[in-house]
Amino acid sequence: MIGWISYIVFFLILASIYAIMALGLNLQWGYTGLFNIGIVGFFAVGAYTFSILATPDQVGHLGGYNWPFLLALLGAMVMSGIVALIVGVPTLRLRDDYLAIATIGIAVSIQLIANNLSWLTGGPQGIYNIPQPLANYFSSNLGYNLFFLGMMMFILVLVYVGLERMVNSPWGRVLMAIREDETAAGSVGKNAFSYRLQSFVIGAVLMGLSGALYASFIKYISPTLFMPILTFQVWAMLIVGGSGSNLGAIVGAVLVWALWTGSGTVVQWLLPADIQVKGGAIQIIVIGLVLMLALLFRPRGLLGERKEVAAEETKSKISNIQ
């Protein structure tokens, strides 16, 4: 029993780390329509910045600044925001597809930089000894993980409430207006570029935060982690949960992470020993199948009732006229 609790706590910590990323993506895609497929790049920037700022002195990479946890967390968020600004300024003026290409390119470049710029990131060896907040105050592993989960829940609620307030403010309505019809929003004097940039940067800051929390929880990062598959996982979470809904993003993160990790266990339970080495492939098939079914039966996700600001009303008016 204690084992199950311990595992579920561990599971929820990782799921909430993913949930913060999904929330960031939801602001970008769900509310503003920005097609960011370089999530893992911002996640990596956050993880590396946090690790470099927070770790004690170590050979092999930049570091030794020993910043306190919260300050390093803040530094990680600022740095991912800066990177998002650099990517966003030239690309957000262009059509959607350019942003997609730019973000995927940036994410791959960041991974390659992490792998090759050893003096900065430790190269393929990665960065270890990443500190955890208040780790010395806990004697048991489960006790510490419970504390970490509490901290994650606090951060998640903070992010969720903050985002809800933002998207329900006039600011948020402008975002949705831009998403639905950029020309119309522009015609009433809203600078679409500026709003898109704000949304893009805030979303990226959340992804950076998520990266920093991951680094602190696992205590080790290396370039192996920052592969495009992670971007795909976050997208799957948002689509299953429902884009355009912050609660949906969180629910999607928990469900898809459960599917991703749980399917492996179920497959291994059910398979006879001699074909267990092929179990990995079956697991991938199960994940793909569930995602397809979700898209078929709930194309807008579980909680995705996109609030459309202008379009719905216009449509009904048009039908009234007819």
Partner: protein, 423 residues
């Protein structure tokens, strides 16, 4: 109606599981290896050797009277997934030990977040990064970390010794694969070689899967080296060698274990390599257990070993199982404390890797007599940081064949390391 079927299916599935678990008493060992993802091809074959080891133990009577059961989980070559899988094995399946993972990045994530805090033994069959030794020196592994793949530190020193004292080289260029294996070995070689007062003219990293390595080769040729030390895998290694030769690079070559492959020699061309190669390879690779395991593997799966770390994976399972038997263990701490008893005791009766050998081991242990397991991958002497130590063999290429010329003992390498003032 649909709901009824669903309910039925669920109850059948749930009912089946406890039945299977209660059939006999079992001792579980976790395996977290890549079955899909970039290392999936390697991992699948490696896991087969783990299954072979488990099957042999069970035929020899199991562990502590129970059936040895492998709980296999796919790491998907992704740290986040692997960490979750390992945590599940530790918390829910209550495994006292985990074999895995392959890549250093994944193994390290499991070690720092799951096995070390939970006091569970972790043995990696393929992670060679020096960062693990560093972590162990800082006391962060708690002694729960082991690896059956030889550390790069020994080979780097042995290679420097060969280059300096036998090949009489003063200036060497290094081209190395940009991963923990390549970096670790190349840096260690550079340390040792420069400690002799010789020069490394260039350290050029290369990234895998490029169609051409012309720019890397050109870079390495600057500084006029007398020889090339190429740290890489056979496929790209052959491409680099062709470009090195066609660009008129010096014709003395230093090759590490990864290039100790007849196929590589054929692909480059024996006429270019005959008499020009000085190689090193962890020498204990040819133990008496190796042919036994090879034959058993072929009987079980119908084909021979195809991947690196096959024997290392087999040994990881065998060592854990023997330690469990020796200490009547059910916890990680107990296994950790007994691993060296079954591999290092000089008075122990040698145990070969076979059903017969494991039967003998159980009998001797039951009588309270010491044993010494001879691994398929080496003699498996773990130092206090969990690294496996062993002899290094010097090899050359003669008439297109790989020929072993000398064996350097661990003591000899330790002496050289000390003389050079290295740690």
């Amino acid at each position: 109606m649909r709901k009824t079927y669903l309910g039925l299916a669920v109850s059948v599935a749930l009912g089946a599981m406890p039945l299977a678990a209660h059939a006999a008493c079992t001792s579980p060992i976790g395996v977290v290896m890549p079955l899909t993802g970039s290392l999936g091809v390697l991992g699948q074959e490696n896991v087969k050797t783990a299954q072979l080891a488990a099957a042999q133990f069970n035929k020899a009577g199991g562990i502590n009277g129970c059936t040895l059961q492998l709980k296999i989980a796919d790491s998907q070559t992704q740290p986040a997934i692997a960490v979750d899988a390992a945590k599940k094995l530790v918390d829910i399946s209550h495994v006292p030990a985990i074999v895995g993972a392959l890549s250093s990045g994944v193994s390290m994530a499991i070690l720092t977040s799951v096995t070390a805090p939970s006091k569970v033994v972790q043995i990696s069959p393929g992670s060679t990064s020096p960062a693990f030794t560093q972590l162990a020196k800082e006391g962060k592994t708690g002694g729960y970390w082991f690896r059956t793949a030889p550390s790069d530190a020994l080979q780097g020193v042995a290679m420097a010794y060969v280059a300096h004292s036998q090949a009489k080289l003063k200036r060497v260029a290094v081209i190395y694969l940009n991963n923990p294996y390549g970096i670790g070995l190349a840096n260690r070689f550079k340390q040792a070689f420069t400690a002799y007062g010789d020069t490394v003219t260039a350290m050029v990293p290369y990234n895998p899967k490029q169609p051409s390595y012309r720019s890397e080769v050109t870079q390495a040729l600057q500084g006029n080296p007398q020889a090339l030390f190429l740290v890489g895998y056979p496929t790209e290694g052959a491409t680099i060698m062709r470009e090195w030769i066609s660009n008129g690079g010096a014709n003395t070559y230093l090759f590490p274990d990864a290039l100790n492959s007849p196929q590589f020699v054929n692909n480059v061309g024996a006429k270019y390599l005959d008499g020009h190669v000085w190689g090193t390879v962890p020498g204990s690779t040819k133990t008496k257990s190796l042919p036994l395991v090879k034959a058993a593997f072929k009987r079980m799966y119908g084909h021979g070993f195809t991947q690196p770390y096959d024997t290392n994976t087999y040994d990881a399972v065998a060592v854990i199982a023997l330690a469990m038997e020796a200490g009547k263990c059910s916890t990680g701490t107990c296994i950790k404390d007994h691993i060296r008893d079954v591999t290092e005791n000089p008075k122990g009766t040698p145990i070969l890797a076979s059903i017969k050998g494991f039967k003998k081991a159980r009998m001797l242990l039951a009588e309270g007599k010491p044993i010494r397991y001879i691994g398929a991958s080496g003699t498996l002497q773990f130092n206090k940081y969990g690294d496996v130590t062993g002899p290094e063999v010097v090899w050359r290429v003669k008439k297109g064949k790989i020929v072993d010329v000398e064996t350097m003992s661990p003591g000899q390498i330790a002496k050289i390391t000390k003389e050079l003032g290295l740690k």
